[in-house]
């Protein structure tokens, strides 16, 4: 087998494999936080009330914010910034967070 063939075979045998190399939950959490920060930096996020109206479920904290009589601009803020779940999710590979409808919990679900 010549060099070109050898390397072609090795390359074919070692392509990307998401099952073998999935993104760590910690990384997914960091990316999500970063994307939300980027989105918030260029205008307000969709408020939690609007998010719920669009059919996407809220976590318990977001639902609480949605229920409180506050201006939409306040409901557009990201409560995850002050949530322990985000902090744990960004720093641990198997964070002990189990809130329903929390993206960080979803990233860490086995």
């Amino acid at each position: 087998m010549d060099s070109e063939h050898f390397f072609a075979v090795v390359a074919d045998d070692t392509g990307p494999d998401p099952e073998r190399d999935p993104a760590p939950a910690r990384l997914k959490s960091q990316i999500y936080s970063r994307l939300l920060a980027e989105q918030a930096a260029t205008g307000r996020l969709l408020s939690v009330s609007e998010t719920r109206q669009s059919g996407r479920p809220l976590c318990v904290f977001e639902a609480l914010v949605a229920h409180v009589p506050l201006p939409e601009s306040v409901k557009s803020m990201n409560p995850c910034y002050v949530c322990h779940a985000r902090h744990l999710a960004e720093h641990l590979d198997h964070a002990p967070i189990f809130w329903p409808n929390c993206p960080y919990s979803e990233f860490h679900r086995p």
Binding site: D2, V10, G15, P22, L27, I31, Y32
Partner: protein
């Protein structure tokens, strides 16, 4: 943002995914929701595609695993900026992998340009032919995968990237040389040394 058009992605037969049919309505809705800054849609984007992007970048940056997280994050940031121009001519996954591919090639280019100053690439005394690895060594995929990763990690960075660019991304020597400001002959020499070193490490692994 790099041009990550599906056309560019589909040019290689060695792409992690083959360009599929036009994007489905569910993906269109997801894109629209992310553009509306629906936080749950943004989470879905990450949750749905991070594994594929990570696996691709991890495999293509085998010699430098510590760079993978940053590059995957860059892919998503670039995607966020580029989403309004996502035309839906390919699936979202193919489009994202196109961005990842550009990021990986930017990384190769930057590192191989820096490596240009290494004098050992021009030192012919370093070139010693070695025996070809046996074909039966390549039968066990898992073993080959692990061994390849180990060998790439032990290679000088420039050698590893040159091999990945040439054989995994299937770029021609001419393309690699042009992108790194080398002559084609210098590119051939770099690859020859990279192959020799790879095979030597493969034998002793």
């Amino acid at each position: 943002m790099p041009d990550a058009s599906p056309t560019t992605v589909a040019q290689s037969t060695h792409d992690p995914v083959v360009a599929g049919p036009a994007v489905d309505p569910e993906e269109r809705e997801l894109v629209a929701a992310v553009i509306r800054k629906d936080r749950k849609a943004t989470a879905e984007l990450v949750g749905r595609f991070a594994d594929a992007i990570h696996a691709y970048v991890r495999q293509r940056l085998a010699p430098r695993a510590e760079m993978v997280d940053d590059l995957v994050q860059e892919v998503f940031l670039a995607a966020l900026k580029g989403l309004p121009s996502f035309a839906g001519r390919s699936s979202l996954k193919v489009w994202l992998l196109g961005i990842a591919r550009h990021k990986v090639e930017d990384h190769y280019r930057a590192h191989l340009r820096r490596a240009e100053t290494l004098s050992d690439f021009d030192d012919d005394s370093a070139f010693v032919p070695v025996e070809q690895p046996r074909f039966d060594e390549l039968i066990d995929d898992e073993r080959v995968r692990d061994k390849t990763r180990r060998v790439l990690a032990r290679l000088p960075e420039a050698y590893g990237y040159a091999l990945l660019w040439r054989y995994w991304e299937r770029r021609s020597v001419r393309e690699i040389a042009a992108q790194t400001g080398r002559t084609e002959k210098a590119g051939e020499r770099l690859l020859a040394r990279a192959r020799t070193q790879f095979k030597r490490l493969w034998e002793v692994d």
